[in-house]
Symmetry: C2
Subunit: 672 residues, 2 copies
């Protein structure tokens, strides 16, 4: 690459882009780790985007109608940090750049949502950013339709690399975005032909332009180092009604000895090479030094956005007070005040009618009363709408012809759905939920973990939550998944026993602000076990005494979901024999663990035999069976120890020994 | 669809295909569940494939050089079962068809590998079959190069639906197959435009032909009900040097009232509609009845394969006895006899040199001695070769220009890699291993679960197994993943402490026949802790006493992987204070749990304080800390309780309190 020619062709632009490149080199060198090459390759595209197109205001990073900038190739985090520092984000002073990748810094190795305002999403696991972006763009479309262009009308820009595009989740994102004609979504593909193992063609010969075009995208292919070309391509992308992909031919680690090599992908820390690179750039300043002239040009870039924001504030102020309050509430992630009363009324009604339905149906019944009063919900399913019971009558279907629809047919794309939901939640003003079979959390894990790590309240509606799924067999029957979900920090895993607990779980999910929720729901019909109406949300305590012993308490049966009614039936058998038995329903372990010791002790006193009942593996149960004043000699577990099988559900529960009789026998064996 | 026209155009073909269709209708009706539409739609393609092209011998379902037939759209399992019954597979008598989806039957809701010989792989979770098939085809290419065309020269045929192609993993498979020019891979796309939620265009407008072509595939688009067209397309696909995709325009649930609707995807059980369908077919036979003339035509289809197999047996017999033995051994999944001695010699050498290296490096050192003597290994990495240390000097790179290479650059495709590895293992004669960062087991979970469910000995090399990864930060640091892997039935999770244990873990992985192995390896250097040479494989016991107390035993420190050396350092601190301390290394919980009670009791006697040390979450540890004669009042855990952070590794261990000093303090607090 002829650096001198680049410098002389656009000297003004060059210096601005060089500021990104040299900050990257300096920060990586100081940390002695990181990824230098990507920011150096994409600095020109970023500079043109920020200077001429991106509507952003560093003084108001949370402005609802800002354009979103998403760095899907998250290893190039210094690109984002440099942009934030240069344009003047308050959370990104120079000290943070100098502290790149150090303990306590906001400048983590990969961008972490929540570390600094201006970081729109956590990226690093490849493909997540582009899939998040589809959710950002869907939220924007829905809100543009709902609030009008004066209030919501912005673009979502993404930078993705070869790695993002090789990850399968990118195909799910591309397919969904193409079908949905998300015209405000613009993806820059950093087409540098380099991965960690070598040149891309060692692993992939895909014509990315043709691939995107096959799914209905507008595609351009440009020189990623020529400012005028970049500018024209962005302008064309904004005009086109389809989502746009701009393949930017770039040189990774531009101007460095490692340019165009896989070495350039990583940390370039050699001092002499670093100096040689700066010399080639014509950059005569010290480490982390940005000349005032260049810095002021960068800071001026926020002016367009600041003006736009001021105009937006005026338009927003013209809305009715009620509308302003509604908008502000939704963007704050707060549930409407009447949600609580609505759930209470629903619970009362259910206590009266005592339906025997699957909890997936209970979930639908709950959503039928919630969705009409909570307009920010966006529902969907990965092609299992009728099985997940996720679609309520009022939602309408989101489609290019119906942008007011709030239900999304995600297609058979569990991972893309989860990542898109994270994007919607991060966008603000939206509360996404989506369904699939619980076993297919396996496919969605990459994005589900990020819900937890970012602390966004995405809600996963995971139905067919055990061998109760029946004939579809072991490929579709979760046995290890409850343990897997519970192992994940900051994730509330709900497994409600009946319609009442399902409604309570939904209330917890919809009022959560920093924690995702997973609702594990049955395929099979379950009796109502909560026969007495309580206004209090008992599920909020995580576990509670559902039925106490009448005879002298000798056993405590602890169960979740569909096995709570098994526990109740076992209790009947035991009490009939004079064995006093308490049943503890445990719809959410995480919330129970968060209760104070005194409450936990009231629910799980020392002494009685304890049996855990759950149609999943035991892993994790010992916390409650042996810990919490338990006794290994007086504890047992009724559940699964391997994979399931294909047969009618009732037969499976019988063959795998998860019945009231098995439970009663286990208690009696331990009582001796 | 004009059924009458189809019948009269090719009456002979029609009846054979109708046999598949009616068996499907009858089996689903009897089970009152299942998926009727797919087999009814693809029956014509299957009939032509089996009659004119597929080299198979129902009398020898394990014949190494057979063509493989993979039903990626596994919900259409009755297609496969019908084909197996009709052509005369011993494991698939009519009784099995009648027992579809019932307890104990081989005819599970989705095809389960191991239930009947002839089922090549477990499918159902969509996209897995097509991704397995890439592995089948790679194994075939490698073995064709290694053994010559006379011994290995067959095709892999796949049937995939819209759902398979919407799943991201399919893109990973398509990209890898296209780059690798897997000319013996032929995919039929069941292009019926129907998903569960409705027509495909409600969720996807992708031009699948253009998408495959973008990745270098040969693409054809045909009428999936016209036998001559189908035949010609298969012939053309076999001739083309690229992988082939044949988009077959079909009608789901052909001839039924539910034809071309999403209802047709599921269980068609209405008796009157079923009869009307049979009437339209001109099918006058009773339930499950196949007229002898039709059955004999189906049975005759195996003749071509039987003849080919007989000729193959002759060619195989012409090989030297040594070559025959080598081939047979590899196909039996047995390790070479000298593996054990090789590992022992390596361990001796390592005990002498006591290297301080990361266990990912230990793994590479082990592979350097293993790969040369075990020619069936096929290594690879999802674009992290230099980090996973998976490539040894002798392997060569698998590439269209070098089919003898045994190392695969999978690209950034963790899920596709895992599924392809399953395919290689299922193909036979291959022992695949592949690497990525352990955190990205999240991306590969869908296929990793199937390794366990199918019982295939795929080996996962998962490096950077904790916060020891350092600066890349929490997106790349597993904390819940050990628990998740351990929750999965039939999966051996190894976390070796040093080079010796790593070699022992590899020996276990390479000799496993029915269980996949996950090797969790450190990024950071670890001291050798096994200072005394033992010929015995101690890792095979799962856990063992690494160092016993010298003073009176008051504490047992239990640790895995990088935390074993932390435990050893803590032991030094405690022993110096007169607190006798045993260190138990636990490289594989599953194997320890499988030991007899007497051994477990010797390792973990009742009495002393127990501390678990692991840079992951506690979930699961209570089994060893509180169970196995433990005592909740005398147990503690030194590890993680949330996500990690971005900083140098040593700083992270210090900040998260996973050090020898923290461990010693925890012991002393419990001793009181």
């Amino acid at each position: 690459m002829d650096i001198a020619a680049l410098r002389t062709a656009n000297p003004d632009h060059w210096m601005k882009a060089a500021a990104i490149r040299t900050l990257t080199l300096d920060a990586v060198a100081a940390a002695n780790s990181g990824h230098s090459g990507m920011p150096m390759g994409m600095a020109d595209v970023a500079t043109v985007l920020f200077e001429n197109h991106l509507n952003f205001d560093p003084k108001a990073p949370d402005w609802a109608d800002r354009d979103r900038f998403i760095l899907s190739a998250g290893h190039g985090s210094m690109l984002l940090y440099a942009l934030m520092y240069l344009t003047g984000y308050e959370d990104m002073p120079l000290e943070q750049i100098k502290d790149f990748r150090q303990w306590g810094a906001r400048t983590a190795g990969h961008p972490e949502f929540g570390h600094a305002r201006g970081i729109e999403t956590t990226t690093g696991p490849l493909g997540q950013g582009i899939a998040n972006a589809v959710g950002f763009a869907i939220a924007e479309e829905i809100q543009r339709a709902a609030w009008g262009k004066k209030i919501i009308n912005h673009h979502t820009y993404v930078m993705a690399g070869d790695g993002c595009l090789m990850e399968g989740v990118s195909q799910e994102a591309i397919g969904l975005a193409g079908m949905q004609k998300l015209g405000h979504l613009i993806v820059f593909f950093d087409n540098n032909n380099i991965t960690i193992d070598g040149t891309v063609d060692m692993a992939d010969i895909t014509d990315q332009g043709a691939r995107f075009a096959a799914s209905g995208w507008h595609v351009q292919s440009i020189d990623g180092h020529d400012p005028a070309t970049i500018d024209a391509a962005i302008a064309a992308a904004k005009k086109d009604p389809r989502p746009s992909m701009i393949a930017c031919k770039t040189h990774i680690a531009l101007g460095h000895a490692a340019q165009d090599t896989s070495k350039g992908h990583g940390a370039l820390t050699d001092a002499a090479q670093l100096q040689a690179t700066k010399d080639a750039y014509g950059w005569t300043y010290g480490p982390f030094e940005i000349p005032a002239g260049v810095k002021s040009q960068w800071e001026a870039m926020g002016a367009r956005g600041a003006a736009a924001r001021a105009a937006w504030e005026d338009r927003f102020a013209a809305l009715s007070a009620a509308k302003q309050a509604e908008f502000t509430r939704a963007y704050a992630g707060e549930a409407p005040k009447r949600l609580s009363a609505t759930i209470r009324a629903f619970k009362k009604q259910m206590t009266d009618s005592q339906p025997k339905v699957a909890t997936r149906k209970s979930s639908e019944m709950t959503l039928e009363v919630v969705n009409p009063i909570m307009k920010e919900t966006i529902g969907g399913s990965a092609d299992l709408t009728g099985s997940n019971n996720t679609k309520t009558a009022d939602l309408g279907v989101f489609h290019p012809d119906n942008r007011k629809g709030r239900y999304i047919y995600y297609g058979v794309r569990e991972h893309g759905m989860a990542a898109a939901m994270n994007g919607m939640a991060l966008h603000g003003g939206a509360r996404p939920y989506g369904g699939t079979f619980m076993c297919f959390t396996d496919y969605a894990r990459g994005a589900m973990r990020l819900s937890a790590l970012m602390g966004v309240p995405t809600t996963y509606v995971m139905t067919h939550d055990s061998i109760g799924l029946g004939e579809d067999g072991p490929t579709h029957q979760p046995v290890e998944h409850l343990a897997m979900l519970r192992a994940t920090p900051n994730m509330n895993v709900f497994r409600p026993a009946d319609t009442i607990e399902t409604a309570e779980a939904w209330e917890m999910a919809l009022t959560s602000t920093k924690t995702p929720s997973v609702l594990c729901l049955s395929r099979q019909g379950l009796p109502t076990v909560r026969l007495e109406h309580k206004t209090k949300n008992l599920t909020a305590q995580g576990a509670y005494v559902l039925a106490d012993a009448t005879a002298k308490r000798q056993a405590i049966l602890m169960a979740t979901g569909s096995e709570v009614s098994v526990a109740m039936a076992a209790r009947d058998l035991l009490e009939a024999e004079g064995i006093g038995t308490r049943v503890v329903s445990m719809p959410c372990w995480e919330l129970f663990a968060a209760q104070d010791e005194a409450y936990r002790k009231r629910v799980l006193p020392a002494g009685p035999v304890r049996i855990g009942i759950e149609a999943g593996v035991r892993l994790g149960w010992d916390q409650w069976l042996l810990g919490e004043r338990g006794n290994a000699k007086k504890a047992g577990f009724v559940g699964m120890s391997g994979f399931g099988a294909s047969a009618p559900a009732a037969k499976l529960f019988e063959e795998f020994g998860i019945t009231a009789a098995d439970t009663a026998a286990a208690v009696k064996a331990l009582i001796g």
